[in-house]
């Protein structure tokens, strides 16, 4: 269907577009300015580039990692661990959150345990997990899971509880059982909370994986950063951090795209 806009509306749309372009340009310029300033500061010896590295050295380090074909292996390890931990935490979080909603007695029993587990700094579990799961990829994935699972359970459970009473009444009037309520009404209705949990999980998963790789790994971006700091190669540490920024940003973008899709479906607003 062709939409006919008034001249005033066309002007408004143009202004909106102009503002968006301006904001994006400022964002990019800010990044470019920081990079240039950083490089100039390093070249002019205003800062000690041995401990701060410099954009040029970081690019050379990434280039050498690509040349000796190790970069993609490290990225592969880290991505696999992160995505596995993230997916498992999301899946189990939704299942457990739904189970707590379906069984109110269980939720009352579990409440203090969830509060304590949520407050516990999960890094304290690291040594225990290594002893139980071994010093390998399994330990890293379990660590990631332990960091993001409880917060997902709590977010999903709160989301389900916040669905309005009339919706539940309507479903009950049709004789819906708990599973039907979750499937047809509650899970789609609390999609907003689930997406919120996913967004938090993206960062928590990265925390879990990098923490795990610091402790036990022989490969991965966390390992590169740890190795770089041990041999005092700050270029490698910075290169690792930059790569992490790109990967985490990409994953956040994926979740945002998923959120956009749920908006189109009417699951979120």
């Amino acid at each position: 269907m062709m939409e006919k806009y008034s001249d005033e509306h066309i002007l408004y749309l143009r202004e909106l577009k102009r503002k968006n372009i301006a904001i994006n340009l400022i964002r990019i310029s800010l990044l470019v300015a920081i990079i240039i300033l950083w490089q100039i500061a390093a070249d002019m010896k205003w800062i000690n580039s041995v401990i701060t590295s410099s954009p040029k050295e970081i690019i050379l380090t990434i280039h050498s990692l690509i040349s000796d074909k190790t970069l993609f292996r490290h990225i592969g390890y880290t991505l696999f661990e992160t995505l596995t931990g993230f997916s498992l935490a999301t899946l189990f979080g939704i299942i457990l959150g739904s189970a707590l909603w379906a069984f109110p007695v269980a939720s009352r029993v579990m409440d203090p345990y969830l509060v304590v587990l949520n407050a516990l700094p999960k890094v304290a579990l690291g040594p225990l997990i290594i002893v139980w799961a071994g010093a390998g990829m399994e330990a890293i994935i379990i660590m990631t899971l332990s960091i993001s699972l409880i917060s997902t359970v709590i977010s999903v459970y709160s989301g389900l509880r916040s669905v309005n009473e009339e919706t539940i009444l309507l479903m009950r009037s049709f004789g819906a059982n708990q599973l039907q309520m979750l499937k047809y009404a509650l899970l789609p209705a609390s999609c907003q909370s689930i997406i919120g949990a996913l967004k938090i999980n993206v960062s928590l998963s990265w925390v879990g994986v990098i923490m795990g790789e610091f402790l036990v790994s022989k490969a991965g971006i966390g390992y590169l950063i740890m190795y770089g700091s041990q041999v005092f190669n700050l270029d490698l540490v910075m290169a690792g951090i930059i790569i992490l920024c790109i990967l985490a940003g990409g994953m956040y973008l994926m979740v945002s795209l998923f959120e956009g899709w749920t908006k189109k479906k009417g699951w979120t607003v």
Partner: protein, 247 residues
């Protein structure tokens, strides 16, 4: 002589909380005949919704008796339309059938026919946000009608609408219910609405709710709401009911 459909005798409902107990309904008796359109009017918080909830089987009664004279299915319509924004209108309308495991070729066609008959035939694949408030309410009613209820419970279904829309939508919904030959119980705070839509009005006491009086309403069905509201009889009913309710 109308056939009785449901008889409520001495219904009592007590809600318990750790701090106190509230008697919401006590000594509530009412007979609902087949084809009746009964409105329950009473002070706010008197326990009207509790009566509907008990009739729908969603709340257990504390004492008393409800006898259904035949095995009837009950449809429930709430204050808000509760249409699911992520489902098309057709999927929303078929929801009750799906949950009850009664969705088949015939029941789906029946639901589609209802949509067509009541002016939503072109909106089956639209989403709720694409419909006006009145159309949404009609879709919500069709979702309830699709399960072929014998008794329709309407818990202030027009209260979320603005006053202008409320008159047209209530007239529209009332006409559909009469067309389908259904028995309906309506809860409303709006006396005018109750008079225009109902055959009988039960005036309830302040909490705990019980029926103080039942009034027969005799306004011609073929009159529009606007004409009903300006008739002399309407004024008489309004005065009697106001006196009973507010003293």
């Amino acid at each position: 002589m109308k056939k009785p459909l449901v008889e409520i005798k001495d219904l009592k409902k007590i809600y318990h909380t750790p701090k106190n107990e509230t008697v919401a309904v006590e000594g509530f008796s009412l007979r609902i005949d087949e084809g009746d359109f009964i409105s329950l009017v009473g002070p706010s918080g008197c326990g009207k919704s509790t009566v509907l909830s008990v009739l729908a089987g969603l709340t257990e009664l504390s004492d008393g008796e409800i006898s259904y004279h035949e095995d009837i299915s009950v449809g429930y319509m709430l204050q808000h339309d509760c249409l699911f924004e992520w489902m098309t209108i057709l999927d929303n309308v078929l929801l009750g059938l799906k949950i009850k495991g009664a969705l088949n070729y015939d029941s789906e066609n029946y639901a589609k026919d209802l949509l067509k008959t009541y002016g939503l035939g072109d909106f089956t694949s639209s989403y709720p946000h694409e419909l006006s408030g009145g159309m949404r309410q009609r879709a919500a009613l069709i979702r309830t009608l699709a399960i072929k209820p014998k008794l329709l419970l309407l818990d202030e279904p027009f209260s979320a609408l603005d006053s202008q829309m409320r008159i047209t939508v209530s007239e529209d919904i009332g006409r559909i219910i009469k067309n389908q030959g259904l028995t309906a119980i309506l809860i409303t705070h709006d006396l005018s609405e109750a008079i225009c839509l109902s055959d009988k009005i039960a005036v309830l006491s302040p909490r705990p709710a019980r029926v103080m009086n039942v009034y027969d309403i005799d306004l011609p069905d073929d009159l529009s709401t606007a004409k009903k509201r300006t008739s002399a009889k309407f004024g008489e009913y309004y005065n009697i009911l106001s006196k009973e309710l507010y003293g």
